[in-house]
């Protein structure tokens, strides 16, 4: 059968020449390749002391944004969950009560909002689907952990802080 990639080599069992049979030139050649890599730029970094430079629109851990008054923008419409190809997002909606206007922007809000980070493929479709500009992917990396349960991020990990210092800037992802 013809190869699909056109890169396969036909194996033959011909006898080695004298030079090949001496092995030493091949050993030197191999050492040469090893030595060459001492002077190459390493492929890895000394994380976490060193960090790789990220693009401005890197898709990392999600954030649930608040509006300028500190109220949560998410209204639990479920469009992120239905657009999610990995089915990583679940939510439970609740109705805003009187006096909670400073907490939630709309009359409906997400009482529970969970993203399973083990399922998430960081495609950014949730952000694309969001009609309220509530969910964004940030430059932050979702950290590793020992327990599977810890990867289910609730609102405690996703919603940004109210204080200006704790706000997460997503303007680069908005401007695209």
């Amino acid at each position: 059968m013809k190869s699909l990639s056109n890169r396969s080599k036909v194996v033959s069992d011909k006898n080695m020449t004298l030079l090949e049979g001496a092995y030493l030139p091949a050993v030197v050649k191999g050492l040469g390749i090893t030595l060459k890599h001492f002077f190459r730029r390493p492929a890895t970094l000394k994380y976490p002391e060193e960090q790789r430079e990220f693009t401005e629109v890197y898709r990392g851990k999600h954030v649930l944004k608040r509006d300028e008054n500190g109220a949560e923008r998410c209204t639990a419409c479920g469009l992120c969950a239905v657009s999610c190809p990995a089915e990583a997002i679940t939510m439970v909606a609740a109705e805003r009560k009187n006096g909670e206007e400073h907490l939630y922007r709309e009359e409906k809000y997400a009482a529970i909002y969970e993203i399973n980070m083990l399922r998430c493929i960081f495609c950014g479709l949730c952000e694309e689907a969001c009609p309220k500009e509530a969910i964004f992917l940030t430059k932050e990396i979702a950290p590793a952990d020992y327990e599977r349960e810890e990867f289910i991020y609730g609102k405690d990990k996703l919603v940004e802080g109210v204080e200006p210092a704790k706000r997460i800037d997503v303007s680069k992802r908005q401007d695209r």
Partner: protein, 323 residues
């Protein structure tokens, strides 16, 4: 009586005398059927309010072939023998319908992310298929406080497009109506007579006939979104209604019960309030099987491996499969 021949968008059909253009177009198929927001086959005297079903009559009849001078509401115009009608094939109709959609959306809020009707809303479909993507309206939109019509129904007048369907339900389905439309024109609104509760056993059907999210089920309010639920045909023995309904399930839990809607979004058989609001235990219902949902509907999105059957509409299939 002989059948009348009518041609809509180049497709000819023979219909009974007295048939409206809209009904004739529906008999031909969804390709030529004009959209309708207020007309409801099962409600007498409905139609004629929303103007979304406007069509152009290019030939009045065989005897009088003059075209009609203006676009006509197809839900209220009966066919004549030899009539020729243009719907989607007429630029004028498409443009006029865009205008109608813009008018319907003038006071309609953009709160689809909150609205329980989103995903099965006729106005959403209509504006998506026939409307502009932007509104040119610059003035303040009218808003209302939410009103409870009875214990189980909520009226959110801000979303209402005044189609009068719910009023017709109250008139024709329930004796002694307690709600209707007060005021006129821009300030017209659906209202109950001095906030009287609608406590008729069939009042819940006004939720199903409402094309938008103005009348919603309070027992389902904010519980879920329609596209997370699995619609299943089910029936039960009911001494008041046919008991044939659709139960919307999430896992084994029944979130809400609605009537069975046909291709045109109209309820086949009215169901009573007991079935709709009080029977939410799986043991109350005998399941018949998953409901057929068009695979382009948002309700069929993202149901990997679920048992819901999603049927492909013929025009969505690649031509090869059809031939």
């Amino acid at each position: 009586m002989s059948l009348l021949k009518v041609t809509i968008d180049g497709k000819t059909i023979e219909v009974e005398p007295g048939t409206t253009i809209l009904q004739a177009a529906r008999q031909i198929g969804p390709d030529v059927a004009p959209p309708a927001m207020c007309y409801y086959t099962k409600l007498k005297t409905s139609g004629g309010y929303c103007r979304t079903c406007l069509v152009k009559v290019t030939k009045g009849s065989e005897k009088d072939p003059r075209p009609m001078p203006k676009l006509v509401a197809s839900c209220r115009t009966t066919v004549m023998d030899g009539m020729e009608v243009q719907n989607y094939s007429s630029e004028e109709v498409v443009e006029a319908r865009k205008g109608v959609v813009e008018f319907l959306l003038i006071n309609h809020p953009l709160d689809c992310p909150i609205c329980d009707q989103a995903g099965e809303c006729h106005l959403q479909d209509l504006s998506y298929e026939n409307g502009r993507s932007k509104s040119r309206y610059e003035f303040k939109r009218r808003t209302f406080e939410k009103i409870d019509i009875g214990e189980k129904i909520q009226l959110h007048m801000t979303r209402c497009i005044l189609c009068y369907r719910c009023v017709k339900v109250a008139d024709q389905l329930t004796p002694g109506r307690v709600h209707g439309v007060i005021n006129r024109g821009e300030v017209a609104e659906i209202s109950t007579y001095i906030q009287n509760a609608v406590d008729n056993e069939f009042s819940g059907n006004m939720i199903d006939v409402c094309p938008v999210g103005a009348l919603t089920d309070k027992t389902f309010r904010f519980k879920s979104r329609v596209w997370f639920l699995k619609p299943v045909d089910a029936h039960r023995d009911c001494d008041q209604c046919s008991g044939k309904a659709v139960v919307w399930k999430y896992g084994n839990e029944i979130y809400r019960v609605t009537g069975r809607k046909d291709q045109w979004g109209e309820v086949d058989e009215w169901i009573c309030n007991t079935c709709r609001f009080e029977k939410k235990s799986p043991s109350d219902w005998v399941e018949e099987g998953p409901r057929k949902i068009n695979r382009h509907s948002v309700i069929s999105q993202n149901h990997y491996g679920s048992k819901t059957r999603f049927v492909a509409s013929p025009e969505s299939l690649p031509q090869k499969q059809l031939s």
